[in-house]
Symmetry: C2
Subunit: 684 residues, 2 copies
């Protein structure tokens, strides 16, 4: 057990240091220059709006969390062991709380880093880039470190029995995905309703440019970038890392006879090495004034990946001493690189897909949409093939290890490999809303052209990193899913005392379960997309009302930004409830009616459908966005041409796809897994 104590100490020390690092980065950001008064005014409005949304959102989430915790205890009491129920509910609340803390702190920094990045852009590109990236890294490190601390902490608290405890911390994962669903869905609805509403009422109806200070919805739009991309995606990756840790620990239990406690604690140690790699990667990023900032970010990413591989090798060597698991982990790392390349191919204007959409805009909005949908469907091919290959090879490497159950443990290794660079990726992702906001702040303060050029360039890099993170998130969700299926089967086996290894789709009830799982994915997406339309409708109504007031359109009277922020907040919160409850209760109903095997099929087929639809929605949205930008840069007639109008339609359609429904599906997939894990005792 000395090895166990050593491993746990290592995990605690590294994650504690990562929290400290996060604090240092926040202090670095805070001490930067805050620019002129006009910029500060805009930033203040964004900050107020963002904080108001988060406050109300987490209040709602808090109430639901409380009710669910009580229900969990009650259900376990009714169906089985109340003591397990209390433990599960406790872990659930801790998971939810830590996720909330990471989200709130990350966003508090994000709405401050935006102003400082804008001020930095007045001086030089490297300065702005450094501030934005370090601001993003606050979120990145906090999210990964807190999820690690949470899992490790509860493991110790619940007795650190390597063959029992992993099953008792599934509540932590459920809590994390519970919060993630609300955060990503609520934030996603907010950001896109504000974006669509502001665009339709400003650019289309009133004919004023984007981010124009006369538009009453402009602040809501800027707030939206923070609550959707920063708070939402942070919660998403918090739960990814948490769920993956727990799932891998449960698989480790099956290998206890071979590896002892090392197999159970390996996931936590591997993650700690990933944190170290990411930290070095972040600090290595140095931009040059006349270089594309994406190149600097890529250099940092490649360094992180390289260090992750080395760290993974050390962890495998010391704890498992079987090189095949190292290769399985490398498979996951390769998959993350593949996803980055594929996402770039499908969403960047340099390649065929985006050009095809831009070209189709010449014959109008209809052909633009048809081309975009065709690209969206087509682009499931390469990512799914990559996932299948990664699963296959990591499984094969696991089998070659010669360890019993080694195949599944191999797929777990791939997931750990893929998630090793999570902190770096998340930093790049949160970089997105910070630079986007910086651009808005600069735009509204009538800054000189040179400064705007810098923020425009950073903003465009931010769009790319956001798209990449989404690709990464779905790829890791797909790998983690298989891990979580296996954890579910292991848990049911443990509960019933006999091996549950077969999910037979040829049985009618099991097939029905699978079909319902796929249906849920479509239904959930429908509600998410519709919620954006509804909420955007409220904003349009309010902005129209304000435009009618004297002086607003002329720019002499300042519009009532707060009213739009408030309406968006209420609309997003109201409309996130129905799809969230559907996602949580539908799997429980299926499990109760059709039992454990059908619930497994529900989870598995639902996951397949979710992965595919998320890829379709994310990448078609990204491609539409960049097709519009490609036209704006002068292709097919440039700004103001008919092709441009058609491309704008495509971009608007893509908004709720790529920023609301798509990312929420990542969370849904993992929620399905954690909810079935937690509810498994009820399905027997």
């Amino acid at each position: 057990m000395a090895g166990a104590a050593l491993a746990l100490s290592f995990v605690f020390v590294v994650s504690f240091l990562a929290v400290l690092l996060s604090w240092r980065l926040a202090k670095f950001v805070m001490k930067q220059d805050t620019g002129n008064a006009s910029m500060q005014k805009t930033a203040e409005a964004i900050k107020k709006g963002g904080e108001a949304f988060l406050k109300r959102q987490y209040k709602t989430i808090g109430i639901f969390t409380f009710i669910t915790a009580i229900l969990l205890v009650g259900l376990y009491y009714y169906f089985g062991d109340v003591w397990v129920g209390v433990k599960t509910a406790f872990a659930f609340v801790i998971g939810a709380t830590l996720s909330a803390v990471a989200g709130i702190v990350g966003m508090a920094i994000s709405v401050r880093a935006n102003l400082r990045t804008a001020a930095g852009a007045y001086k030089s590109m490297p300065e702005a880039l450094t501030i934005a990236l370090r601001g993003g890294a606050v979120s990145g490190f906090l999210v990964v470190a807190l999820s690690l601390l949470g899992v490790a902490g509860i493991y110790v608290l619940f007795g650190a029995n390597p063959q029992e405890t992993p099953f008792h911390i599934v509540g932590f994962g459920f809590g994390a995905s519970f919060v993630a669903l609300f955060a990503q869905l609520g934030g996603g609805i907010y950001t896109k309703a504000a974006d669509v509403g502001a665009d339709l009422v400003g650019k289309v109806e009133a004919g004023i440019p984007e981010d124009d200070s006369r538009n009453p919805a402009v602040i809501a739009d800027l707030v939206g970038d923070n609550v959707g991309d920063c708070a939402g995606r942070g919660a998403d990756l918090f739960e990814s890392t948490a769920a993956e840790n727990i799932g891998a620990m449960i698989l480790g239990v099956a290998l206890f006879p071979v590896f002892g406690v090392s197999g159970v604690l390996f996931p936590l140690v591997a993650r700690s090495f990933g944190l170290i790699a990411s930290a070095i990667g972040i600090f290595s990023v140095k931009a040059k004034e006349n270089e594309n900032p994406m190149k600097a970010l890529n250099r940092g990413y490649y360094l992180t990946v390289l260090l992750s591989i080395i760290g993974f090798y050390i962890a495998v060597k010391v704890m498992l001493d079987n090189v095949w698991f190292f290769w399985a982990g490398v498979t996951g790392i390769v998959l993350s690189l593949l996803f980055v390349y594929i996402t770039q191919y499908y969403t960047e204007h340099r390649f065929r897909p985006v050009r095809e959409i831009a070209e189709a805009s010449k014959t109008g909005a209809a052909t633009n949409i048809i081309a975009g949908v065709a690209i969206g469907f087509e682009n499931t091919g390469l990512p799914v093939l990559s996932i299948c290959l990664a699963l296959f090879f990591s499984y094969l490497f696991g089998l070659m290890s010669g360890v019993p159950h080694g195949g599944l443990y191999g797929t777990a290794m791939a997931t750990m490999g893929m998630l090793a660079s999570a902190a770096y990726i998340l930093a790049m992702d949160t970089f997105g809303p910070i630079t986007d906001n910086a651009g808005g702040i600069v735009e509204m303060s009538n800054a000189p052209a040179k400064v705007r050029k810098r923020t425009d360039q950073l903003d465009s890099v931010g769009n790319t990193t956001k798209a990449l993170t989404k690709g990464y998130a779905i790829g890791s969700a797909a790998l983690a899913a298989f891990l979580l299926f296996s954890a579910y089967l292991d848990e049911v086996s443990k509960l019933t005392g006999k091996a549950f290894e077969v999910v037979n789709l040829a049985k009618v009830p099991v097939f029905i379960g699978g079909m319902l799982g796929a249906m849920l994915v479509f239904l959930f997406s429908a509600y998410a997309i519709r919620a954006v339309g509804k909420t955007a409708g409220y904003i349009i109504k309010e902005a129209r009302r304000q435009f009618k007031k004297k002086g607003v359109m002329e720019g002499t009277v300042e519009p009532d930004y707060a009213a739009c922020v408030d309406i968006t907040t209420r609309g997003a919160l109201r409309n996130m409830v129905l799809p969230s409850l559907l996602a949580i209760f539908f799997p429980i109903v299926v499990g109760l009616l059709l039992r454990a095997e059908a619930a497994a099929a529900f989870l598995m087929v639902g996951t397949i459908a979710g992965i595919l639809l998320a890829i379709v929605l994310n990448n078609s949205g990204g491609a539409w966005d960049n097709a519009k930008k490609h036209v704006e840069s002068g292709a097919h007639g440039g700004k103001g041409s008919d092709a441009h109008k058609a491309a704008v339609v495509g971009d608007t359609v893509g908004d709720p796809f790529k920023d609301t429904a798509g990312p929420s599906l990542h969370v849904l997939i993992k929620l399905l897994a954690t909810v079935t894990l937690v509810m498994a005792p009820l399905f027997l």
Copy 2:
């Protein structure tokens, strides 16, 4: 065996009579009035275009069929028994040929009935309705009767051994779906490329109305309705009934100890009763001048359903003598009614979904598309729930029968029940292109307003019946799929000599198979949709060229319709090849690499994804179409308003969804099943 001889004789007599009836109906249509010279000229152009397309299309299909037959013999020779290979290839060719015959004859009548319906509309509504419906019924009876004759004929030819022969006629089903795929996909690409091309170049660019004789693409558009809806859907239902018969006969083999030969031949007898019910239904339809023609068609449908139930009861009583199977059959019949209602709810302007889309058109094309996609995703809910309930109850009734393996046979009964009214449904479907064409012919001949009002009304009824048929086709495909899964498992069991009853999604290779199946569905749809865009591009280019010629735009020089028809034909045929080959070879590759169990998962998860995506594509397309019509009827500003322009975009986007990709997915689902059935010996 006296019972077997009696049953087979009954099947032969009924299907022979149905062919005769089809011949009588054709003669009835041909002897009707053919209107004035201008109408005849248009009709002649459509006829020539349609026949030219079919000729070339079936030539292409013929070549592929020949190659595939040779390959089949070769593969069976290499992997197993060459004699089985010859039998399979023979059945394959017969299936393909009969499907082609049904398609060619049906379409030959359809392109003649259109003119006579138009002439009938000059006289009265009931006259036009009767001609159109009986013209459609030629296809309806021929398709169902030939598929029945084919299966029964090969059964007798191959020795009529009830425990062996059903396995040898799977080639017939493969031949049928092989042709159906090309016919539906090629026809679907043709019809929508012509439609989108004609609309974009005519309505949008040149500003002339639909079906205007100055538009060079107008004849291609009218031809398209025939080749897509008539020939394509006919081939689709030909294979549905064929595959369902074969699958149910194979299940019947498993019940041989209980029912003897009756269980094997029951599907054919039940189908014969359905033919009788449909014939009576068709002849009962009598329209009144001032009544909505849909009501008359519905009365006929309800009568058909009622008679089908009675026929089914007699068949069960005489052959199986177990009332539970009757109830399982009724479950299928109820499902067909449910699908009709649900499809109406989601695609008719009277209900919320279409109104929501029309309402969203007020804020532009983007919100129209977002609303339509949300409705499309949402509308997977009720159909999938209905399918699940039907599967569950028919399985339950089957279990209650007390017969071993009764559960699966119960689901087979539901499929038979659902397909009992196939001939009537198909008549209603082919009614669509006939009335659509009649409207075009009348429009181009400058007929009086009274006549145009009649054809407009018939055309709108035709749109509804087309939407209903698609719902029916997908519902029956979903039920039949389960039948075909089971047939596949039975076949593999027979080949290996040990029970193959488990498709374990928890195994990595099996899960990968499932994931690839779902991916194929998206990829196939992408290629189908893109093919429409590409082919429409050729048409637009050609029409633009012609518009530049002097006199075309002024209406003094007749455009070169034949050139557009020719270009569409070549474009559609060229672009149907890639997705078709993908659909045929991908499952074979998966089966060869990952083996039989993964191939089963491929088939099952692919089917689930296919059903869902087909529902999304079909119904969102239908809803967009009717939202546009709703706006045109005066809502939200009526024709020419901004809302109308937005609604037109939605309608155009929906075209390739509902008439190309969606219906082709029905075929794909069944093709996956028949291809795995035929290739099963290679996957072991």
